[in-house]
């Protein structure tokens, strides 16, 4: 069983569209994250949720809205997509929030905006 699964793996869409990426973890972890990896492989944190509560919200355009219906799920919705949003988005989870230990990553969702 995949520990952290995210869908879709690939997403190609036009500028201006709205799209969502879903993430689920079956590890029983309390904390989930969204990271963005650009073409230069920089990995930047976007959001972090603990038990459905937002705890980290980096300087991300408000076109990006995370939603956590329960602690096993953290979805990412992106409105009015722009060319610069093209990247690989990784979902991750960890056991706690204080001094995060090991992060478990999903396989990534490659978003291409045309």
């Amino acid at each position: 069983d995949t520990a952290v699964s995210q869908t879709p793996k690939y997403l190609v869409t036009q500028m201006g569209n709205d799209k969502s990426i879903k993430c689920e973890q079956n590890l029983g972890h309390d904390t989930m994250y969204w990271y963005k990896q650009d073409s230069k492989k920089f990995l930047k944190i976007m959001f972090s949720y603990n038990n459905k509560e937002l705890i980290i919200n980096e300087t991300v355009p408000n076109r990006f809205s995370p939603k956590s219906p329960d602690k096993a799920h953290l979805n990412l919705h992106i409105n009015s997509l722009e060319l610069g949003d093209s990247a690989v988005y990784f979902c991750a989870s960890s056991h706690g929030t204080s001094w995060p230990g090991e992060l478990f990553f999903g396989e990534g969702s490659r978003l291409t905006v045309l």
Binding site: L43, K44, I45, I56, W99, G101, E102, F104
Partner: protein, 109 residues
Amino acid sequence: SQQGEEDPQALSIQEGENATMNCSYKTSINNLQWYRQNSGRGLVHLILIRSNEREKHSGRLRVTLDTSKKSSSLLITASRAADTASYFCATVLGNDMRFGAGTRLTVKP
């Protein structure tokens, strides 16, 4: 913003050789972690070293941490072609984890 900076950006070695990657950071940390990423895949945790530890081993991996110099190194001994991947360090302070830009390691058979 990025925290750790890996050095070198890219490293190419022959199978059987050792590979050393370095990570420098700027602020205090609670722990530092190393991850591996195969092309087109997610990151996989390799090893965690706490701020009060100086060295840690796991199989062919050896990690050192010098908090006075704000630096860490990852040594992979007796490298294999399968070790070809990008390696990232991540610094943790409180509930914040920041990644460096990674070192791309190529191990030639």
